[in-house]
């Protein structure tokens, strides 16, 4: 049952990430990382909230946490884009992208985790 829930969540998360990245490229030009930042921060907030709530049912964690949030967010594209920006000698952009994702992503997870604990 659990793998099925993970699959269903993933099948919603992956296309949503593709949509966010395509919207960012359409609005801000090729190579824009804004879509990836948006999904990573949003997914971290949702998962932080979910795990901050005291007793979330296991099926919700599998569907929304492991499946949806896990697939909506990405670490591999973050790594690849940091290397790409570095190779383009855009070291400042690479550092801002990496640092910004870490601060906003972990910050969003912490805020949502804390907020859920207050419920």
């Amino acid at each position: 049952m659990t793998p099925l829930l993970v699959i269903v969540g993933a099948m919603a998360g992956a296309p949503l990430r593709l949509l966010a990245e395509r919207l960012a490229v359409a609005r801000r030009g090729a190579g824009s990382v804004v879509g990836t930042v948006a999904v990573n921060v949003a997914g971290s907030a949702v998962l932080g909230f979910l795990l901050g709530v005291a007793d979330v049912p296991a099926w919700v964690l599998a569907l929304v946490g492991t499946g949806f949030c896990g697939t909506l967010t990405t670490f591999s594209t973050l790594g690849a884009d940091v290397v790409r920006l570095g190779e383009q000698r855009r070291t400042g952009a690479a550092a801002a992208y990496l640092g910004g994702t870490l601060v906003l992503g972990i910050g969003a997870a912490a805020a949502a985790y804390g907020a859920a604990g207050l419920l």
Binding site: L51, T66, T74, F75, S76, T77, L78, V82, A110
Partner: protein, 141 residues
């Protein structure tokens, strides 16, 4: 449209792989998140290889990158678990471990991405595709 379908199918495969590894390497409360670190670093390596070996050779494909890049590897790797595990390690009174986890994930992930990309380019040069053979001969001449 085919891109979104490809992403959904690839995402399901990648997420299943990540779930399987998390099941095989369960994390005790406040413990080092081995499973997430493993999927993130290996996923960075494989995406680097794919960018150099596969995506660079088929730039016009409508489904290849959404399926393998956004889907399989996007689903296999995760930023949300990494972020929340960092918060949980801090909450558990282990801020030093949390900082170490962030540092190791970022350094190993970016290094694995670069390694995958460089290895993919080297492999691509040593094994030219049929269409590249003429160019290779021309460059020798």
């Amino acid at each position: 449209m085919i891109g979104y379908l490809a992403a959904a199918l690839g995402g399901a495969l990648g997420a299943l792989g990540r779930w399987g590894i998390a099941e095989a390497l369960p994390r005790e409360a406040g413990g080092w998140p081995w499973a997430t670190l493993l999927v993130n670093v290996t996923g960075c390596l494989v995406l680097g290889l794919l960018i150099a070996l596969v995506f660079a050779r088929a730039p016009g494909s409508a489904w290849l990158r959404p399926f393998l890049g956004t889907g399989v590897l996007g689903g296999f790797t995760t930023f949300s678990a990494f972020a929340v595990e960092t918060v949980q390690l801090t909450e558990a009174g282990r801020p030093g471990v949390a900082a170490g986890y962030v540092a190791v994930s970022v350094v190993a992930g970016v290094a694995a991405s670069a390694l995958g990309l460089l290895a993919g380019r080297a492999l691509g040069r040593s094994r030219p595709t049929p269409g590249d053979e003429i160019t290779a001969e021309e460059s020798i001449a």
